[in-house]
Symmetry: C2
């Protein structure tokens, strides 16, 4: 069994304790005896997976979450399923922040991802500069590159801080490790979405004797 | 004398107590007896002004500010010249935030403007939605549109709050009035840049007997 989380930019795989990502234009051939259990937020990328592998299974119908949020992405649901209490920060193309309390999803919000931020500011020629991810967030910037980097980085950090307060923070996604460095009561877990998927597979499928 | 502040999107004018903005493709004819004193952060838009009016004067060389910041835009310098103490938030195509203390500029930073935010998120199809500027910033969002709007609005508010603390906030620019509603110790002054320009004209030009 191979797990696959299809995002907006990449397909993320989990198999035998290993995680890796692939682009849609360059999908590797997988062991044909293995089933790929997937979730997806992107139809185009899903098609490339379905064309590349005979045995695929969409886990989406089995994912449910106690929430009032309408239209929560399946990747966010899967990550939420992996924890009972805390704040989940999935820092990829976009940064999604979700709050869980006693197994209930209280809501969440979305910020531009670090790479997206650069694109948006690049629309104004004089602000089209490389981000300085080493910028100090404790002193006022003294040049344009730092001013832009500080605005991007500090606004993300303040939002996470304001949301988490004393709650534990679970970072995941490509920029999750970087962001986790700024917090104490947190962990970085690149497997969070896969752990949620695994939990759903155990609770909703294999424990009920359903054969995939 | 007509004052003109040339931004990245529009030319902003001040004349006889009135302010208005014009686009570069549709510049109105001004009284040829009046000199236009301008500052600019955009060369292309500057050219359209110079072609449209015979008597123009660039105030830039007369603008100076006590600061360590390298490459501070002339519009930001002009706004800073207008106050001695406080935080200036100029919310236009980009949002610039500058801190003044006893006439000294301590530094500043840059956030994407509200309209820019929408463009950046529009790069991800499922996030391509109209902002809800009426979103609550005190409860967790429960749908995608609110999640994106909350992320944009609350991150701007937290940054301004974190910077200003007990300092007075001076809002200016197109979205300045909207943002000022969220704060108590603040004013909205659409004339801030022009007041700074006027101060420089008085102190550096007319008081020295220079004839324009």
């Amino acid at each position: 069994m191979i797990l696959c989380d299809i995002g907006n930019s990449f397909l993320h795989f989990y198999y035998h304790g290993k995680v890796w990502r692939e682009s849609k234009d360059n999908l590797s051939v997988k062991d044909s005896k293995e089933i790929i259990i997937f979730i997806s937020v992107n139809e185009e990328l899903t098609k490339t997976l379905l064309y590349s592998h005979a045995s695929c299974f969409d886990l989406t119908p089995f994912l449910s979450l106690d929430t009032n949020y309408k239209g929560l992405g399946v990747d966010r649901i899967a990550a939420c399923k992996a924890i009972k209490d805390g704040v989940i920060v999935d820092a990829g193309s976009a940064i999604t922040i979700d709050v869980m309390q006693q197994g209930i999803h209280l809501g969440g919000y979305i910020l531009p991802g670090i790479a997206q931020y650069k694109k948006v500011l690049g629309l104004i020629p004089i602000l089209d500069c490389e981000m300085n991810l080493g910028v100090s967030v404790d002193t006022f910037p003294q040049n344009t590159r730092d001013a832009v980097s500080f605005g991007m980085l500090k606004s993300i950090l303040l939002m996470i801080e304001n949301t988490s307060k004393s709650k534990k923070i679970y970072f995941t996604g490509g920029d999750g490790k970087f962001l986790s460095r700024f917090f104490v009561n947190c962990i970085y877990d690149e497997l969070l979405v896969f752990k949620g998927m695994q939990k759903v597979i155990t609770e909703e499928i294999t424990s009920k004797g359903i054969v995939l």
